[in-house]
Each structure stands twice: as C-alpha cells, then as structure tokens.
C-alpha cells in the first residue's frame, strides 16, 4: 500500500498526469450531467452516433492535413447533432433509424477514407486509438487543456443558468412549449452542447466508449436517487470518481485509459443497482 502511494505521488510530479486528471474530471463531469437529460429524453444512443460522426470528421481532417483536427470535427458534429434533434421526439422510430444510419455511415466512410488516403504507416493503430481512446490523454498539450477547461465552463454555465428550463423540457416537452418556453431553442442549444462534449470526450475515452461516459453515471444515480437534483449531483460525483480512479489505475497498471474508466463505471453501476433493490423495498414498506 505504501509503495502504491509512493508511486502515485511520484507520478504527480509530472504535469502530464495533472493535465490528464484535469481534462478527465471536466469531461466526466460535463458528460454525466448531460447524460441524465439524454437518458431521460430517451436519447442515450445519440452520444454513440455523434461520436461516430466525429470519428468520420476526424479522419477527413487528418487526410486534408489540418493541424487542429477539432476545427473540422466540432462543426460537423454540431451539425449532425442539430439534424438529429430536429427529427425530434414526435417521430421516434424515424429518429432512431436515422441515428443508426448516420452513425454507421460516418464510421464506414471515415475508415474507408483513412484506408484510401493513409496518413501514417500504421493505420490500424491510428484507428484503434481514435475508436477506443488512446494514451493521447497522457500526451495533452497545455493548449488542449485550456480549450477543454474553457468549453467545460461554458457547458456548466449553460446547465446552471438553464437548469429549471432543462428540467421542465426534459420532464414534459409539450407542457413546456404550451406554457411558452421556447423548447426548440433549448433543444438546439442542448444539441450543440452535446456535440461539444462528445468531441472533447473523444480525447479521453475514444469514440466507441463515449456512450458509456454519458449513460453509466446517470443510470447508476437513478438506481438510488429519486429527485432530479440529487440524480444530477450524484451522477456528477460518480463520474468524477470513476474518472480519477480509472486514470490513476491505468497509469499504475498500464491499462488503456478509456476502457479502465468504463470498467470502473460498470462496477459502480452494479453496486448502485444492488443498493437500489433494497431501497425500493424500503419505500414500498413505508407507503
């Protein structure tokens, strides 16, 4: 145990570990908060679909030779998010199929383009790191950290300022619209924010595992907590904890960062699931 602590404190001398932790915590925080809304709106797969779009866009950016690939990936992902939101709640099945189409299409085109116009000698490794998250979180530059901090603050501000509206729209879109809330404005804003978080999160866990960051903390929290506010707060705490824990263990045991975080999330879900079983039994008795 003493050895473990010494190793960890040794690693903390390196700025890259701090960078990874800062970015990791911020992404975990923003993704989990948005996750609650997305899961409740039955949009939990949107993260997966959009991350594939972002993958496609990143491939194109790499081929074109953009130095900052985010410049292309961000607007394209935002556009896709807006299109998906537009298909909206009233056409559920259509929206679902649309998501599947865009998601599979983008990933296929992305992979195809990378193969036709290889940018490096090791395509498989490149694709693998974009999909599953690479060690890239440990090689973040200070600029990337700053971008991440700024965007996360924007996302958090959005959420705090519009918390009541977001609750109202998530719980009952028709009521909100009927009583005069500009629901489409907030839905588009939400779509943009989701796209931003996803492109950011690709650094951390990679394209395929983004859904996990969005879905797991929210679902774990909902097992145990019953009010919206408590679900949001606990989901944020769960996500931050698993992110820190995952990053540190991946450094200690040299495992890939993304999957390690997701495994921690899964374990927490199992624990909360069991706790939730006892909890519902209790409230039933109380009634």
């Amino acid at each position: 145990m003493k050895e473990l602590i010494e190793t960890i404190s040794y690693y903390f001398h390196f700025p890259f570990v701090w960078y990874a932790l800062i970015v990791g915590v911020l992404i975990a925080l923003t993704a989990s908060i948005l996750g609650v809304t997305l899961v409740l709106k039955r949009y939990s797969t949107i993260g997966d679909g959009l991350s594939h779009v972002a993958f496609g866009a990143l491939s194109v950016a790499a081929i074109v030779g953009l130095t900052n690939e985010m410049l292309l990936a961000m607007p394209i992902t935002i556009l896709a998010a807006i299109l998906l939101m537009k298909s909206g709640q009233n056409a559920k099945i259509k929206g679902d199929a649309q998501l599947a189409m865009i998601s599979v299409g983008a990933i296929a085109i992305g992979y195809l383009l990378i193969n036709i116009f290889p940018t490096s000698s090791n395509i498989t490794a490149d694709v693998c790191s974009t999909l599953f998250g690479s060690i890239s979180i440990l090689t973040l530059s200070s600029t990337e950290v700053i971008i991440c901090v700024v965007l996360s603050v924007v996302v958090l501000l959005f959420f705090i300022l519009f918390y009541n509206k977001i609750f109202s729209i998530t719980f009952d879109e028709n009521f909100s619209k009927a009583t005069g809330i500009n629901t489409s404005f907030y839905n588009y804003l939400l779509a943009i924010i989701i796209a931003i978080v996803i492109v950011l999160a690709m650094n951390l866990v990679g394209s395929l595992l983004i859904s996990a960051l969005i879905v797991f903390p929210a679902l774990s929290a909902m097992r145990v907590f019953k009010s919206f506010k408590s679900v949001i707060i606990s989901s944020a705490i769960i996500s931050i904890f698993s992110s820190i824990f995952g990053i540190l263990s991946s450094i200690l045991f040299s495992t890939p960062v993304g999957p390690t975080i997701v495994v921690v999330d899964i374990l927490i879900f199992i624990i909360f699931f069991i706790v939730g079983l006892f909890n519902t039994q209790q409230t039933k008795v109380k009634v």
């Binding site: 409740l40 709106k41 039955r42 705090i160 300022l161 519009f162 918390y163 009541n164 509206k165 609750f167 109202s168 719980f171 009952d172 028709n174 009521f175 909100s176 619209k177 009927a178 009583t179 005069g180 809330i181 909902m222 907590f225 019953k226 009010s227 919206f228 506010k229 408590s230 679900v231 409230t283 009634v287």
Partner: protein, 232 residues
C-alpha cells in the same frame, strides 16, 4: 368576457385535415367539455389551442391577458414521465419555468404558491416524495398542481381521468369542478360523454358532425340524445 374563440377553424397535420369548420367561443368561467369518440381530433384541437400545432385554416383568437399569464395544461402522461426521477415539489415548481424568463432560480413567492397548490390538491406532506412512486391519481394531482402554477385563468385538460379507477375518477372530477367554481375556465377532453356532461356548461362534440352549444341544448338535440342514450 370572451376568452377564446374561433371561427371556421380547420385543424390537422401535414398528412391531412382532421376536423374542419369548427366554430366556438368560451367565456371566462366556462366549463367546456370536448367530447367525441377516439381518433376524432380532440387532442389535436387542444394542441392547436395551445399553439403546439398550427391551424390549417383560420385562427384562434385569445384574450390578451391569457397570452401574458399563460395557460394551464394537463397533458396525457407519457411513458417517459412514469419513470422520471423527480420530487413532487420539483415538478410542481416547473409550472413557473416559462414565466421566469432568463432568471435561473425560482423566487420565494413562487415556491410558496407551489406549496399552496400542492396543499390545495390534497398532497400536503408529499413535497419531497418521488413522483414515480405515486399512484396514478396522485400523479394527476401533481400535474394539476403544476398547471395551476402556470395559470390562474384557464386550464386545458386532456383526458384527465384516463387510467384512473372509478373512485379516484370521481375525486378528480370534483377537484376540477371546484377549480371551476373558483373562477378558472376549464376546457376538458373526455371520451366519457355522460360524466363530462354532468359538470360542463358547454359542450363541443367532434365527430362526423360537429356540435357546439350549451349543455341543455346538447341534451335536447337529437345528436346529444343518441350519445347519452347510446351509453345506457
């Protein structure tokens, strides 16, 4: 005072007209029951009045004061809501979400009104209770409390008793009736003609033929007789 009226209104979706040539008007304090069989366009009409769908032809004229103070709406429950993590108080307070513009928090006054509405609906002590663990009737009363937060003038109710057992159904009708006595205009959709007619003072019947008039006119018309007797 006429609160809401329309003349030769046609409503429906892009796929086609659902009801055409609707004309009716509602005064403040009225209790209008919109009746008719399933699929005749009752919900479509409510949604058009609320501005959720645009009318195909004609327009709905609304009193200016309604536009400012908003409308209370009790929608049909969705599957999403039945499993939604929220406390009773959170949901009722959200009735104010549209009123407070860009102010991010609810005021003390709004919180007090929300509490008062919860008490009025017979749910005192349930503020912190999880919504999804309530009974169907209690859920409806929570949503009614929320609707009361967004209006003091007019309530639109879309099948408020669907899925409730007979006793709870009666309680719900009584609650709505009491609100009407306090001066709130009620527009209620129901497929249970007999029950709806008991409390309403005006009837709008949508179907192959459209009828609009007072309750007495409806009961005396051939049209109403068929439906009331048909139910026996």
């Amino acid at each position: 005072m006429t609160q809401l009226s329309c003349d030769n209104l046609s409503i429906g979706y892009e796929t086609g007209i659902v009801v055409k040539d609707l004309s009716f008007s509602i005064d403040s304090g009225d209790y209008l029951a919109i009746v008719g069989e399933n699929g005749t366009g009752k919900s479509t009409l409510i949604k058009t009045i609320l501005g959720l769908i645009k009318p195909i032809k004609g327009e709905i004229k609304m009193d200016e004061s309604l536009k400012r103070n908003g409308i209370g709406y009790l929608p049909q429950q969705t599957i999403v809501q039945k499993d939604f993590p929220a406390s009773v108080f959170e949901i009722v307070l959200s009735g104010f979400a549209s009123i407070n513009g860009f102010r991010p928090f609810y005021t003390k006054e709004e919180k007090e009104i929300a509490k008062a509405n919860i008490n009025k609906m017979g749910l005192s002590g349930y503020e912190k209770y999880p919504y999804k663990e309530l009974s169907g009737g209690q859920m409806q009363r929570v949503l009614l409390s929320r609707a009361l937060c967004s209006t003091t003038k007019i309530l639109l109710l879309d099948e408020p008793v669907s899925g409730l057992d007979p006793i709870v159904t009666q309680e719900m009708y009584e609650l709505i009736n009491n609100l009407n006595k306090e001066g709130i205009t009620i527009i209620m959709i129901s497929h249970d003609v007999k029950e709806a007619v008991k409390y309403a003072n005006k009837i709008l019947h949508i179907g192959n033929k459209v009828f609009f008039g007072t309750k007495t006119e409806y009961l005396n018309s051939d049209f109403g007789k068929i439906f009331i007797d048909g139910g026996k």
